[in-house]
Symmetry: C2
């Protein structure tokens, strides 16, 4: 993070990474614009050019983690050969990802501005990529397992809620019980 020139070159992204580091090492309450700036070797007011205020900065960090999460899920989907196991693998991926970013868990899963809902037996389009991916992948699997069309949306939401709930419990336990829990996730899903 050496300072070679007046202009940093990639400050915005490095501030986000610094912010994520602060959150994961010390908790969301200790996120600080000035410290993130210091970590990037720039002055305390430099972030102002990239983020209007601390709230927008925190939002940017959150969005970055969400994008990482989305990429991670996409990898799991791409690597998966056996569609029958996909839902289980996505559930596992959910937990595994937040093993690396435990502090970000509630940040990501409790965003007030994301939209997850259903009406008339149809899941409405969401602005939350991980959920969209889950819906897209889980739908065909459930259909092939005989779930009726008018119960499909509900079943998908059940699974999503359960995965979120289980992942939350995992995070709370510091991921100590992965073995047993994974067995449970499998039984729930199939």
């Amino acid at each position: 993070m050496e300072k070679l020139s007046y202009h940093h070159g990639n400050l915005k992204q490095e501030l986000i990474l610094a912010g994520l580091k602060l959150i994961e090492e010390e908790g969301i309450s200790r996120l600080s614009l000035r410290r993130a700036a210091a970590m990037c070797g720039v002055s305390h007011a430099a972030p102002k050019n990239h983020f209007r205020d601390k709230e927008e900065f925190a939002e940017a960090v959150k969005n970055y983690v969400t994008e990482e999460f989305t990429r991670y899920l996409q990898e799991v989907i791409d690597q998966n050969r056996n569609k029958e196991e996909l839902i289980r693998d996505m559930g596992r991926a959910f937990v595994r990802f937040f093993k690396d970013y435990p502090q970000s868990f509630s940040l990501i899963t409790n965003q007030k501005n994301i939209c997850i809902s259903m009406s008339e037996h149809k899941i409405e389009k969401s602005n939350y990529a991980p959920f969209e991916m889950f819906v897209e992948q889980a739908g065909p699997v459930l259909r092939s397992r005989g779930v009726k069309e008018n119960e499909l949306a509900q079943k998908i939401l059940e699974l999503w809620a359960m995965v979120c709930g289980l992942a939350g419990i995992y995070v709370m336990q510091g991921f100590h019980y992965e073995g047993d829990w994974m067995e449970m996730v499998n039984k729930i899903i199939y």
Copy 2:
């Protein structure tokens, strides 16, 4: 909140209430010891006699909400006549409670220091009262519905995770979809 004498009389509790008000009206990030003190009509350093630091203060607010939540669940249990409907009613209570304290939701449900786990087909004793109550109530109901003993713990955890997950989605949606969701909760549980 008038200041009648040098000593406030009930400062600790009123600080907690002020803190909760700040959290619910402006979000956890805007919790402030000094503002809570001002709301109680005392000087900025008065809270120091009741809370070591801001973290302990936030913890106290969180514990207060948890106790309110526990009392609310207990009321539901006490008022319930039909045991068959108890699990559904507790799920509903879960959501209803956080309708009043939406900002506190992730605070309460994502505490790192609470213990929820199982081993050898038994749920381990938890330090988290709401979960303990759920286990205690749900167990007999599931048994009476034919759930086998070696699947009981797992089924209880499934239900708990699902309720937490659904409640989280509710909170995100601003509780707009309660009708449909409640129908879903019922179908999941029975």
